[in-house]
Every structure is written in C-alpha cells, then in structure tokens.
C-alpha cells in the first residue's frame, strides 16, 4: 500500500490529494499560512491523520507516507510582490543595462502613466566586466578578474545575498563565466550563485540574463522555505521521498530545486494539465484542454500526449526562457468584478474582489458585484450549501450589488444583469481558451474540456458552447486538480545548447556528442534521484526555422535520425510542425532550414497511484436526486425548475439529462440544456452534447470496462 500525498499551496487554501493504491483519492484543504507556508502543510497533515480510520497521531501517520509531491508559490509570490533577494550581477562591459532596458518594450502603448518594471538588480550592483567573446565563442579580450574582484568587494560591502553571472556570447563558450564563478564561490561562499550557462546555455542575451537574474532573485527565498519545510517534515517523523513540482510539469529533488530555483516559478498550476490527461483515458483520448478557475484568475492549457511546453515565458513582465508549461492566465475568476465602461458597456474583471472582502454575497463587506454574486442570483450556487455548507451566502447583498452597479444603469432586471455578467465572464474565459488552442494551431472542438477549480464547472457548458466543444470531463477531484496532478508527474530535467548551422551542413558527429553529453548529465541527476535505467527516457528536440525567419519551431527528433544524419526525415518533421502551427510550410519550395538550439529532456518515470476501477451501477441516477431548484438556463434565457443531484452519491454509469445541477462539497456542476451527463469509470462526470453518446461509449458498455 503506497501512500502518496500531493500538496498545492495556494493563496487562500492549501490543497491535499491523498492516494493509496486501490482506494478512492481523498481531498483535504487547510487555510494557507503565507508567512510560513509549511505551517499549513503540517496543519493539513494533522487533519488527514485524524481523519484516518481509526484516527492516527500525526507522527504515526507521517511515518507511513511514502512520497510527498509539493507545489509551491514561494518563488512566484516573491517575484510578483518584489520581495526577492538583494542581488548583484556580473555582466559584460558596455551592456549592463540589458536587464532594465528590456529591449525597450512598453506593454501599454497608449498609456503614458504605465511605468517600467523595477529591475531585479539595481544599476549600481550591475557590474560591467572587461572580457569579450565573439559570436563564435572565440576570445577577443581576456576576462579581467581584477574587475570581478572589485565587484565582489562591493557586493560584500553592500550585503548582497545572491550573485548572477551572464556574459555576452557565453552560450558558445562558458569559460569566462566559469572563471568568474570560481572567484565568486571563493570570495562569497555563503552567497547564492546563478551562472547563465549552467542554467540556460542558449542564444538570446536578454532572455538569458533575465532568466539568470530571476534565479538569483528567488533562490535564497526558496532555500529558506525548503529548510523550513524539510525541518518540519523531519520533525513530525516523515522519512519518505519529497519531490518539488517544477514549471515544466515534472518534479525534481529539493536539492536541484535549491540550485535552479527559477524552475519553480510556475510550480503551483503545473500539476493540472498532466492530471487532465489521466482523466480523459476512459474515453480513449490522449489530449485535452485543462482549465482552472480560481478567485482572481482563469488558467488554460493544452495537452496532446503530454502538456504543451513553451520556451518564452514571462513573469511579472520579466522574461523566463526555461521550458515551462504553456499555461495562459487571464483575469477572470469568481471574484472578478462587473463594471460598466464609459460607453456603458458591461465588462468583467480583471479587477477582483479577491477572498477578502470577496464578492458581495460573502457578507464580508464587499459592495461590488462579482461573478460569484451572479452565480448566486442565477441559482447555480445554493446559498446554504457553499463549501459544503461551511459558509452561508448572502443573496440579498449579491442582488443589491448587481442592482446598484449593473442592472439599474443598464435598465435591466437584476436577473438579466446577472445573466449578462455570467455570459461576459464565460466569453472572456472562452477567449482565454482560444489563446492556447486556435492561436497554437489546435482546433478546440477536437479536445475534451476539463474544468477545474471550485467554480469552473458552473461556467464550462457556456464556454464549451461558445467554442463548440462537445465533451467535458469534470473529475471528482476537480477542486484540487493540481495537487492530484502532482502525483502523476514524472521527474524531468531540461537541457539546451545553441548549435547554429544549416540543416544540410550539420556536423552530425559533433551534434550527437553534444546530445550525449546532455543525456549523460540527465542520467547523472536521475541516478541521484534513484531512478533505475529501465525507467528513464531522453527526448531530443530541435529548434529550427527557415533561414532568415526570426522565430524557431521546436519539434521532437528521434535519436536514430541524428545518428544517421537523416536530413530529409528531420526536414519533413519540421515542415509538418510549421504547417500545423502557422497554416503553411515551404516544403514544396524546398526552402532551406537552419537549426538554432538542440534540447534534451531526461525523464524518470515515477510510480503512479493506481486507481480502483468503479463498478458499473447502471443508468438510474434517481437515488442521488436531492431536490429541485430554479436556475437560469442560458439556451432559453429563462429560469426553470431544475433537478439537483448529490454528486457524492452518483456512481459509474449513472446518467442525467440536462438541464441539471450536480453538487459536491467543493464543486457545483451545471449541466445546461444542450448537454447530458454520465459518470465514467474513474468516477468523473462526463458532460456531452445531447445526442453525442458516441463520445462516452465506455460509460454505457459496462462489459468492456469492468473486464
């Protein structure tokens, strides 16, 4: 019996997903403790121990935990709130402002009050050092170590906690950076150190220096936090494996996370997309759109076989070029505030009422109408069963906020105004989904849609209607999807090297050796993480482009093709991916291709929680019917009396006709009039367009599944 716990620290709640082989996963939530997030971790574990049958002491329970996978927002928050470490930077003479100049972008062109971001390292702590490599990595001027020493003296005197090193053209030759690093280690042994070529040895100076500076900025904070966490876990007798979630959807050991702290900048939401893939398997699918609707934001991402990755991310307007999941975030959540612009048009968000005071219906003094207030007026939320009845919602306050700020000025009834807020919010979220599908060359209609977050499944039918998506899967664990996803994640280590060459003129031996070097480093790390050879894989990707294009396309290349130097096959793969992304390729013209970067991802496969298959319980869901309630039906734009089911009582095969409402303690699922719902073999609620039973065949043909 393997006991694994996924822990996702959020702004308001810390989520726990507890799995044991063969048992249904359990969900827990504890209130987050932002000043030291590890306190909430221990509080939650205490609750989980007490909830065991028979109840256990924390210490006895902790000793039985095999694995904890942990997602943290410590680095994210330090960046967003500008509370990272005091940093110094060693860079090349003449270009020390690259970090602050950000290539001269002002994201809001017409807004003269839009200020630049504060740089991660103040100018006086950015030292330009003599020493220069040319574009091929050959030395033009030797590194001036005396200047490095001078800068170190200033850093020490000023109490710098973390140092970054990034020199021009170092992607082609790390020698100068290594020499400077040696001196820093010697002179400042206690300082956190980030070297650009250790972190990201690829071309594009701004991306590299920004990534390196971010790593130093968040490194000391993450180390401090991991000290606290590891200390507390040790203190309660946990001696299993602790793994940290990284932005690329994989996990790493705490030791590696300490060194490459920037890998965790998107740790929190990174568990979701992988979990989505798990939940679509009963329907014969290997791809999905995973979304997560929280209080202030809505996140969307796509997975095809595995979650989509991007190499050009951004956090708080700082570039980060480490591979991260392609998760698109917009300001739309339960707390998003509805308002009228100067032209009298209704808008939702991005301003949010947050958790405190929260939407007007929370009764904590919020006066402005939020998405959740509209949900209450529309009947989607039962004011007496919010969070399983732990919190009463104030319907009158919700109505008043909507009436004052939306309904009256627009000349609408409160109900129509609420319906409008609901539609505009759903439209915003649908546009967010377009960002990760249509703009990346995917047709959303071909993807099952996974709505996570407590409020997600109230809105998903209308979002899917907008995008013509016929199938939604709502997991029972949808309110803690990320925590659950962490338990499904593999160990992942990414490597990149710049290798600029025309594809037909590549020195394949040299390139092969470079790939082997990266794979060997990956293997070394996996060995440290105790992953046996049989459970490892090294994926190779090339970043290529048509000569003279500026943007590269990243695509998988089998190792055999590199060994054979099979230019034709590699070209075909590139043309195909370019065509998929941008609607055309230049294959017919035989346009020449150049390679810019080569990447290796070393994967170590972890043990997954095994799921108990549910037994088929037949179509009849009447046993779960708990009442009827009036709610708004978007298709008819009218209120109707709708059956409400207790989701906890619904079993594999149970089917209900839309419109209907399914309630669980932490989720409300609205099945609109155009959809029906059936419970699948994993216990998820599969919501399909009326008449499209073909999409959920496995929920009807019990023989196939229980066999």
């Amino acid at each position: 019996m393997t006991l694994k716990i996924g822990i996702d620290v959020g702004g308001t709640f810390t989520d726990f997903a507890v799995t044991r082989d063969g048992a249904e996963p359990a969900i827990f939530k504890s209130l987050s403790t932002p000043s030291d997030p590890s306190i909430a971790v221990v509080n939650g574990l205490t609750d989980i121990a007490a909830a065991q049958n028979p109840p256990q002491t924390l210490e006895a329970f902790a000793a039985t935990i095999d694995t904890i996978v942990h997602g943290t927002t410590v680095t994210t928050n330090a960046t967003l709130t500008h509370t990272g470490a005091k940093c110094g930077l060693l860079t090349t003479e003449g270009i020390r402002d690259a970090l602050e100049m950000r290539r001269g972008i002002r994201e809001e062109q017409y807004n003269n009050r839009y200020a630049n971001v504060k740089p991660l390292v103040p100018r006086y702590l950015r030292a330009g050092i003599k020493g220069r490599l040319d574009r091929n990595g050959d030395e033009v001027t030797p590194l001036d170590l005396a200047q490095v020493k001078q800068a170190i003296d200033l850093f020490k005197q000023d109490g710098v906690q973390a140092v970054s090193i990034c020199f021009m053209n170092s992607f082609a030759n790390p020698a100068h950076e290594q020499a400077a690093a040696k001196l820093v280690k010697q002179e400042m042994p206690g300082a956190y150190l980030s070297v650009s070529t250790d972190l990201l040895p690829s071309i594009r100076f701004y991306e590299r220096i920004s990534t390196t500076a971010l790593n130093s900025y968040v490194g000391p904070k993450l180390n401090h936090y991991l000290d606290q966490l590891v200390g507390r876990l040790k203190g309660i007798g946990f001696h299993g494996l602790l793994l940290i979630m990284q932005s690329n959807g994989g996990v790493i050991s705490p030791q590696l996370a300490r060194e490459k702290a920037a890998l965790t900048l998107l740790s929190g939401p990174a568990g979701g997309p992988g979990a989505g893939l798990f939940y679509v398997t009963p329907h014969g699918q290997d791809k999905c759109i995973t979304t997560d609707m929280g209080g202030t934001s809505f996140e969307a991402s796509v997975a095809v076989g595995s979650p989509m990755i991007k190499n050009d991310g951004e956090i708080a307007r700082h570039k980060i070029a480490l591979p991260m999941l392609d998760i698109h975030t917009i300001g739309a959540g339960g707390g998003s505030i509805g308002w009228l612009d100067e032209g009298g048009m209704l808008r939702m968000g991005p301003q949010s009422a947050g958790a405190d005071p929260g939407p007007a219906c929370y009764g904590k003094g919020g006066q402005l109408p939020a998405t959740t207030d509209a949900n209450v007026v529309l009947g989607y939320l039962d004011p007496n069963y919010f969070a399983g009845g732990k919190m009463k919602l104030d319907v009158a306050a919700a109505r008043k906020a909507i009436e004052t700020h939306i309904a009256k000025p627009m000349g609408l009834s409160v109900e129509d105004a609420a319906a409008g807020m609901y539609r505009v919010a759903c439209n915003n979220m649908a546009q967010g989904v377009r960002e990760v599908t249509i703009k990346r060359g995917f047709d959303p209609r071909e993807f099952p849609f996974i709505p996570a977050g407590g409020a997600g499944p109230i809105h998903s039918c209308l979002i899917c209607e907008e995008l013509e998506i016929p199938l939604q899967i709502v997991p029972r664990e949808s309110s803690v999807l990320c925590a659950f996803g962490m338990l499904m994640s593999e160990l992942k280590h990414d490597f990149v090297r710049t290798f600029v060459a025309k594809l037909e003129a590549v020195d394949w031996k040299k390139l092969g050796a470079m790939i082997d070097e990266m794979s060997a480093e990956g293997a070394r790390q996996l060995t440290e993480e105790r992953i046996p050879e049989a459970r490892r894989r090294h994926d190779i990707k090339f970043d290529c482009r048509y000569i003279k294009q500026y943007h590269e396309v990243s695509f998988l290349v089998p190792r055999e093709l590199v060994a054979m130097g099979d230019v034709a096959a590699i070209s075909r793969a590139f043309h195909a991916e370019h065509n998929r992304l941008y609607g055309y390729s230049l294959e017919a013209e035989g346009a020449p291709i150049e390679i810019i970067n080569v990447r290796v991802q070393s994967i170590g496969f972890t043990d997954k929680p095994s799921y108990r298959g549910e037994t088929f319980a037949g179509e009849d869901a009447s046993g779960a019917l708990k009442g009827r309630r009036s709610m708004y039906i978007p298709e008819t734009k009218k209120f109707a009396d709708v059956p409400v089911f207790d989701g906890h009582k619904m079993r594999f095969g149970n089917r209900i006709d839309g419109p209907a409402m399914v309630e669980q303690e932490t989720t409300a699922i609205f099945v609109s009039a155009a959809y029906d719902c059936v419970v699948d073999a994993l216990g998820s609620f599969a919501i399909y367009r009326k008449g499209r039973e073909d999409l959920v065949k496995s929920c009807f043909a019990k023989e196939e599944v229980t066999a």
Partner: protein, 559 residues
Amino acid sequence: MSTKIDPILLSVYARTFKSITDEMSISMEQTTRSPILCEAKDYVTGLYDGDGNMLEQTENLPILAFSLAPVCKYIKDYFADDLHPGDVIFHNDVFSLGNQNNDVAVYKPIFHSGKLVAWTAVKGHQADIGGNVRGGYNPNAVEVWQEALRIPPVKVVEKGKLKKDVWNLIFANIRLDIVQHDMKAEMGACTVGERRLLELLDKYGLESYEAHKQALFDATRKMMEAEIAKIPNGKYSGEGYVYYDGRHEGSKFTIRVDIEVKDKSIKFDYSRTDAQTNGFVNGTFTSSASATILTLLQMVNPDIPHNEGMVSPIEIVIPEGTILNAAYPKATTFGNHLCPPNADAIQRALGPAMPDRVTAGWNNLLCSLTTGTDPEKNEAYVDIGFMGLKGGSGAMLGIDGYDHIGMIDASGGVLDQDYEMFEQQTPHRLLKHELLTDSAGAGEWRGGLGVETIFEIGSEDTQLVTFGDGDFEPAFGLFGGKDAGLNFIRLHYPDGQTVVPKNKDLITGVPKGTVYHQVASGGGGYGDPKKRDRKTLAEEIRNGVISKEAAMRDYGYSE
C-alpha cells in the same frame, strides 16, 4: 433598425473583434521574415465593416494604423460592384490615401449570404519597394517614382485565383524575394481574420451583426466625446519644427496646429503649416492624421476601443501642398517621421488646457540603416538599426518619462534587437548599449533616459543611410522642466577621421573597423527640478543615471 440591441451581446462582439485582430497580429509575427516585421513588429492588423468603417485594430506601430480605414473606403468605391468572394487587393499608393510607400497593405473583402459585410486588412513595412535606393529611404528623391513602385488598388487574387501576371509585374519591380514571402504572410493573416469573422456571423446572423456594430460605434463615440468634454472649450495653438529636408542644408520648417475644442468635438487645423519641401521630407494626409490621432489617444482613457466611433468626433484639416500633405507627385517617404514634431506641436498647444494629460517633448527619431556583406559568411546583410534609435519619452505630471522607449509614433511597440542575434545577423560587434547618464531632461518628474550605442562595423564598403531629426533641437521641458540632450550619429574611421552624417544622408564606402557611435537622447522634464523627491534623486546618483554634478547644477542637490 428593427433588431433589438442585446447589451450583453454587444460586449461579446467587442471582445471577439479584438481577439480576431490580435490573432491576425500573432500570425504576422510568427510567419514574416524581415526583421522589421517579425522583430520590430512594424505592422498593423485590422477588421472593417462592409463600408470600410473600422471595427477593431491591433496597432503595433500606430503611425500606420489610421490610414487603413480611409483606404478601405477608397478601394470599395474604386471596385464598386466588381468585388467578389476570394478577392485579394494590394495597395500602397500615397496619392490614394496610403501613408508611406513601404507600408504595403493587403485587403480582403468578406462576403456572407452573398453580401459584402466586412474586410480584413494587414499593412506592414516591407523591406524593399523598388525605387532608386534599396530599402526605400532615398534622401535625394523629389518625386514618388524615385522612391517606390506605386501600387494603386490592384487585385492580385480574383475569386480565389492568383493573377500570376499581376503578381509578377509587382515583384519584378522589387529587389528582395523576402518581400514576396512577407506579402504572403499578410494575405495569410487576412485569411485567419476572415475565418473567425465568418464563424461569428454564422453564429449570430447578419442582422444582429449589423445592428450591434452600429451600437458599438455609438457607445465608443460616447466614450471619446466624454473624454473630449474634459478639455476646456477654447482655441489652442502650438508649433513643432523640422530640420533639414535632405537637400538644402540649414533648412527648417514649422508645423502649426490650431486646435478648437467645442463641447464634445475637437478640430485640428494645420492650415498655417509651412509649404511642402522639394525633397522627401513631406507627409501624406493619412500619415499626418495618424500622428494627430495617436498623440490625442495618449491623452485620453487608454481603454477606449479602437473603432470608427473613436475617430468620428475628431476633425482634421490639412491643406494639400503643406509639408504634412504633399501634392502629387512629391516624394514623401520621410512622412511617417514627421510625427514627433507634429506631436510636439499638439503637446505644446494643449499643455495649458490640460496640464495633467500632456507630456513634455519625446526624443525625436534619428536612425540609420547599414548594408554590406558579412565577410565571414560571404552573405549580404541589411541592418535596420533598431539597436540605437530608442530614446526617452517626455515626463508628465506625477510620473517620470519612460527610458529607452523610442519615438512617440511607436510608444514602446518597437523593440531593439537582441544583442546576440544582432551579432549573428550582422558582422558588427557591439561595444556599448546602455542608458546614457544625464540624457534625460531634469524636472520634478524627469524625462525618460536615452541610450548610447557603439559598435564596430565588420564589413568593408559598408553603406549607411541616415534619416531622422533631434540633432538640432532637443526634447523640450514643460512647466519648469528642462530640455533633454541632442541626438547624434558619428563614424570614427580606422584612419582617425570622424564623419558626422547629416540627419538625412547616404554615406558609402565605410571601411571595416569603423566605430559607429550613436546617441538617442532622453525626453523632456516636467516641473521644477528643485522639487524632485530627494530620496529618488539620491538613488539615481548612486545608480549613475544622474551625475552628481548635474544633480547639483540642475536639481539644486547638496549632500
């Protein structure tokens, strides 16, 4: 109209139009090849109704933006009933409302239920457009034919079929193959937009679309009128100056604007502006009107949607024959770059009326384009020089100017090159590219800092074209704020000689090893520098963006 307006659906339309033009913009960014398009994003994507009224635009470089709708209307009248599904039309002609010869647009009419209901359009700055000089900037031109190939509205695709002869006629007159690919990218982006709009029409129907788009225009117009109403009624005048027409040394020209604000309407009258030049320093009506609109837009609520309703309360009068609206067949390639002095005139005029909305002067554009052969690769290169040209913006009440933002007509939408990509794509070596100490105009709120750029030229027989301004007159300070520094470009030859190109010049035969030195200076300051926050000032001295000497001299700083 009988269709009932659904106020919620109205928001849905507005949001979807924006998402369509954004999607077209991403398609352009990812598929174009010329660095001026894919790196610097010198293009605009737009959506228009059947009559050519703007529904939405994504304006990476606003100076191109506000000629798209007028040209759309022109094209519609030009072809009248000869427009069909599957047509694709090219246009760049500055004498039929184009803004600049190099800015070549693609228009695609969109039909639904057999009716012309909308247009998608993309306009981008093409790497070459024929004419006497590669790249299009010919400081010696006096007539349009010395500058460019004129493309009045022409169908390159009719009813879905490529007109091979027309296509070849156009591209036989353009030097670089890359332009064909980039025009295909513009066509692709138009198709992307068309597909999305048709989906929307299928869903909600034509009648709903027509009614709601009109309601959207009305709502937007109301927003714009409310902003204009905040400006006190009255008449305001201001001037901006242009130095050197590329042919007559010492020449200087004045842009004069008379602004009349009356309740909800605003009129910009340029009748007193100097006459056109006998060079290429001339505007076209749409380039000058775009400059006016984008300057005004920075003074109002930045959330106003960009559609016909936004521009309809604005009236612009620019008589033909003035430097802002040259008569046929004058040369006009420099016209987009008359935006900075035009903006200066407007800021100076409106300053007293709305001191909380105007900015001090922005750094004026001065830039260069170098071409030559990379000796290591034995390949030709063209460098657009975005590395050096981005100076600071003017300060305004309560906020410093933005450092290294570049000319006001891009307002931070145009990026400089990545330093390492610059060294891969040219044979040059970058020696310095940093914020320039003391380049910003002093003030209670200082101007944005400018940058200093130095690189070593790596090719023999290099050609250099310069164009711009800001080397005679600095960005001006406002309400007690100080002026900023001046722009310059200097070439230090290996033999010790220093060459200072004029601000519109063509220099040939620049040898390898020459050191190129450029300053794009800062923006003007706002308010009395003596009142600047002392803590901020001390930090700036420590960071070396203001020297101690300048702090003592300009800010009255003492330790």
